[in-house]
């Protein structure tokens, strides 16, 4: 209820309410953006863009259709998709589309000089993000929405504008690929 009041106040132009909402949800939006794009600076930019877009569209938010967080994540993922498409067109996207490499070849550390330890929290988080970055963005975003946001298959299909069967397929392939990768590197 408090959240709805804040949103209403923010939509009416209350700067304090807007500030509270942004501070509250920004970390979560950044996290989704970071997992989607795989780059901290780009994730920061996408977070900023998503939040600005959210401010513009705040009057259109309908609490009956879902939580505010899911609405924000929806905006972020849609913008993230556009972002990735743009990057692909510009030919700057490197690791995501590479085929046939092992996970360690796209690691952001030197695979020969450093051996991540899955029992170390920090290393484990790095490994999870690295494995996620190996998936196509469709599978990656479906997994983030399903297991990060707890959205249903139907909600994801509506959000991404694809059939339920497509989302089921993305989830299955993505989860199975991650299962194999996680086992390979000792996370499972």
């Amino acid at each position: 209820m408090e959240e709805i009041r804040l949103i209403d106040r923010a939509a009416e132009g209350d700067r304090d309410a807007l500030q509270i909402l942004m501070v509250r949800f920004r970390p979560r939006i950044f996290s989704v953006a970071y997992h989607l794009l795989g780059d901290r600076e780009e994730a920061e930019d996408l977070t900023q863009e998503a939040l600005l877009r959210a401010i513009d569209r705040l009057p259109y938010f309908d609490a009956r259709k879902g939580s505010f967080l899911n609405w924000l994540v929806t905006l972020t993922v849609r913008l993230g998709f556009n972002w990735l498409e743009k990057k692909k067109r510009e030919g700057l996207l490197r690791a995501f589309s590479s085929q046939g490499e092992s996970w360690s070849e796209t690691a952001d550390w030197d695979p020969n000089g450093f051996h991540p330890d899955p029992s170390n929290d920090y290393h484990r988080q790095q490994l999870i993000r690295l494995c996620l970055s190996r998936l196509p963005e469709t599978q990656r975003s479906a997994l983030l929405l399903r297991y990060g946001q707890g959205m249903s298959v139907r909600e994801i299909s509506e959000l991404l504008g694809v059939a339920d069967g497509t989302v089921k397929s993305w989830l299955f392939r993505g989860r199975e690929a991650l299962r194999v990768l996680f086992k390979e590197i000792g996370l499972l």
């Binding site: 501070v23 970390p27 996290s31 989704v32 997992h35 988080q125 990060g148 989830l171 991650l178 996680f182």
Partner: protein, 131 residues
């Protein structure tokens, strides 16, 4: 993994997501009951979901700490207890200083009015401007 497991895995996945139709669900479950390997795969899928969520929450928490500083909600109980302890010490010190000052001042007045001797003479010298 048995050869037919690969045929059942997508059905099992739909079942875990709660989106399998009735016929697929029956097929998947009858296979699952007799296949320990598929049971293991399902447990691992569950773990995969948890790891993804863990990663999202971890980045979110780290970002919150680095971008905004830890909020009170995120502060560990030990830190909250320590700051409360420091506040209590500060308040106690304040009261003690004030109390000690008041006591010394009162003692000087009493000595001035009632006592005698070199120390009390010294105290009288000190308090003279007030009389």
């Amino acid at each position: 993994m048995r050869g037919d497991c690969f045929r059942f895995l997508p059905l099992l996945h739909d079942w875990t997501e709660g989106v399998a139709d009735q016929e697929d669900e029956m097929l998947a479950l009858s296979h699952l009951r007799s296949c320990p390997r598929c049971q293991k795969v399902i447990a691992e899928w569950d773990q995969v979901g948890r790891l993804i969520n863990e990663s999202l929450l971890s980045v979110s928490a780290t970002y919150q700490r680095t971008a905004f500083g830890a909020s009170k909600e995120d502060q560990p109980v030990s830190e909250v207890a320590f700051s409360l302890f420091l506040s209590a010490v500060a308040v106690a010190t304040l009261f003690l200083s004030f109390g000690t000052g008041l006591t010394v001042y009162a003692a000087r007045w009493i000595a001035w009015l009632t006592g005698s001797g070199p120390f009390l003479d010294f105290l009288r010298q000190l308090t003279r401007p007030f009389t």
